[in-house]
């Protein structure tokens, strides 16, 4: 069974065993507005937690996405090249960014579960 975690930087990771799928949250896509380009990391890249992992370009501006956990990038969502708006329409599904082999599962401990993240975003309003 997979386990969904969130960061204060509005990324999510769906953990399955020793790997996870990473993306940005619905709150993040709403804040960014219409997304027109996503720069994804190279497959095989080693990320440390907090490294700049991707860049999201909205009509307005470019925003960095930082690695929610450290590890090795094993796959990226190539369909975002042709259809970056999936991040707006389906941020937790078709708008995923990359898959990562988690280096240290301990880094997941500081992340929020779904209800804690909902409280967190409510506190930002």
């Amino acid at each position: 069974m997979s386990d969904l975690k969130f960061s204060e930087e509005h990324e999510w990771i769906r953990v399955d065993g020793d790997s996870g799928v990473v993306g940005i949250t619905d709150y993040a896509q709403q804040q960014l507005g219409d997304i027109v380009f996503v720069e994804l990391p190279e497959v095989g890249r080693q990320l440390a937690k907090g490294d700049e992992a991707a860049v999201v370009e909205s009509v307005k501006a470019a925003s960095e996405v930082y690695a929610i956990v450290g590890g090795e990038v094993t796959e990226v969502n190539g369909s975002l090249d042709d259809d970056p708006a999936q991040v707006n329409s389906d941020p937790m599904g078709g708008g995923w960014f990359f898959k990562i082999k988690i280096g240290d599962a301990g880094e997941l401990d500081g992340l929020m579960d779904e209800s804690a993240y909902e409280e967190y975003t409510a506190s930002l309003e």
Binding site: D34, F37, E39, E57, P84
Partner: protein, 382 residues
């Protein structure tokens, strides 16, 4: 441009923006709507398809009268103001002693007065500059109690024509008094989107009622500054502070068309404005660099500030505005390059987050202008 300190100012439509779900940002000292819940892309497309209503009340509205105002203004700009017919308006530039641009503005001849619309972020500096440079007999009033709306898009004339019938056939770059919902307005046929449209100057206290009346028309939606920027970029129009500044001359900026014949070397009143030596020399011999359109390869936007290099890796220019063009459907940009590299088709390299990305010099605008040139029965202007 440094943002002014202190509490942000609000336009007369602040509450309407809030009620409409605007996302705000501070611009030129004002809390301005960047976009509404529909987002920038849909607002952009709406303006190109129907009509967008923009609150541009942050812009400075000035009235200049007395003391041969037109001649006095000519001493501060390379523009023919003296021969500007009553009711006509002209794009103008305030220049400094080195030929750089202090601001770009619209000048309208209202017969006995001149009406100026200047950039919001330049307003205070422009007023100080004008007051210092104009003779004492000229009176410059800052119209603090006026608001400014822009109605832009192919349906703009149809919509405004329902409320003020004469405006529908008003010529491009003219201004006229018109009554909208019982409010006396000054309506100019111009804009900043590349589309047909109007700018409506009106008393601040009546602005919300007029805005709501316009929004009651099916074709009209509120549009924020985000789409205003993507629309003007596609139209190849300059943003002061990004594409124009005090170190950029009108000739470098490709605004030679705005430099009136009368003020050129061969004209009736050549020179006689700040920076004339530089500007006249650049008109004769060409400028060292030119503003160009840039089409990035691929899909990644190239933003203002990115450096441009040639094949050999030598720095040859800078991007001054860039982003995503919703109508173009891809990234677009403008910038300055060495004059020898300004020909359309030249391929350069932009550095985006340290990575090279090919960009091609291209003609402006990216999206064809759709200005009103008069109906056939009236005799179209060339």
């Amino acid at each position: 441009m440094a943002e002014p300190e202190g509490e942000p100012r609000r336009t007369p439509l602040y509450h309407l923006h809030r009620e409409s779900g605007a996302k705000f940002a501070r611009f030129a000292g004002y809390d301005m709507p960047v976009h509404y819940p529909g987002g920038i892309l849909s607002e952009h497309h709406h303006t190109r398809r129907a009509a967008g209503l923009f609150d541009v009340s942050h812009m400075g509205q000035l009235m200049l009268s007395g003391g041969a105002a037109a001649a006095a203004l000519e001493a501060l700009m390379p523009i023919d103001v003296i021969d500007l017919p009553a009711g006509r308006q002209r794009y103008a530039l305030l220049t400094n002693a080195s030929g750089g641009i202090l601001d770009d503005l619209m000048v309208t001849n209202l017969g006995d007065r001149l009406f100026l619309v200047v950039n919001g972020a330049c307003k205070a500096a422009d007023v100080a500059h004008l007051r210092a440079g104009l003779p004492g007999a000229c009176v410059l009033d800052v119209l603090e109690e006026r608001a400014l709306l822009a109605l832009q898009g192919p349906a703009a004339a149809r919509v405004l024509g329902r409320l003020a019938p004469r405006t529908a056939r008003q010529a491009f770059m003219t201004a006229a008094e018109a009554e909208i919902e019982g409010v006396g307005c000054l309506v100019s046929r111009c804009g900043y989107t590349g589309e047909d449209g109007f700018e409506i100057s009106l008393p601040a206290g009546a602005c919300e009622a007029v805005a709501r009346r316009l929004l009651a028309e099916d074709e009209v939606a509120l549009i924020g500054l985000g789409a205003r920027d993507s629309l003007r970029l596609e139209a190849g129009l300059c943003l002061y502070g990004a594409d124009l500044d005090e170190h950029t001359t009108p000739v470098e900026a490709g605004l030679g068309w705005a430099l009136s014949k009368a003020r050129r070397a061969e004209g009736a009143r050549p020179g006689g404005y700040p920076g004339e030596e530089v500007i006249l020399a650049q008109l004769a011999d060409g400028p060292p660099r030119r503003r160009v359109g840039l089409k990035p390869d691929g899909r990644a936007p190239v933003r203002g500030g990115a450096e441009l290099a040639d094949d050999a890796g030598r720095r040859v220019g800078t991007v001054t505005s860039g982003g995503y063009g919703p109508t173009v459907g891809g990234p677009i940009a403008m910038g300055y390059v060495e004059a020898a590299l300004a020909a359309a088709g030249t391929v350069l390299t932009a550095l985006v987050r340290g990575k090279p990305q090919a960009v091609q010099v291209t003609r402006l605008p990216f999206v064809k202008h759709n200005y009103y040139r008069g109906s056939a029965t009236e005799g179209a202007r060339p």
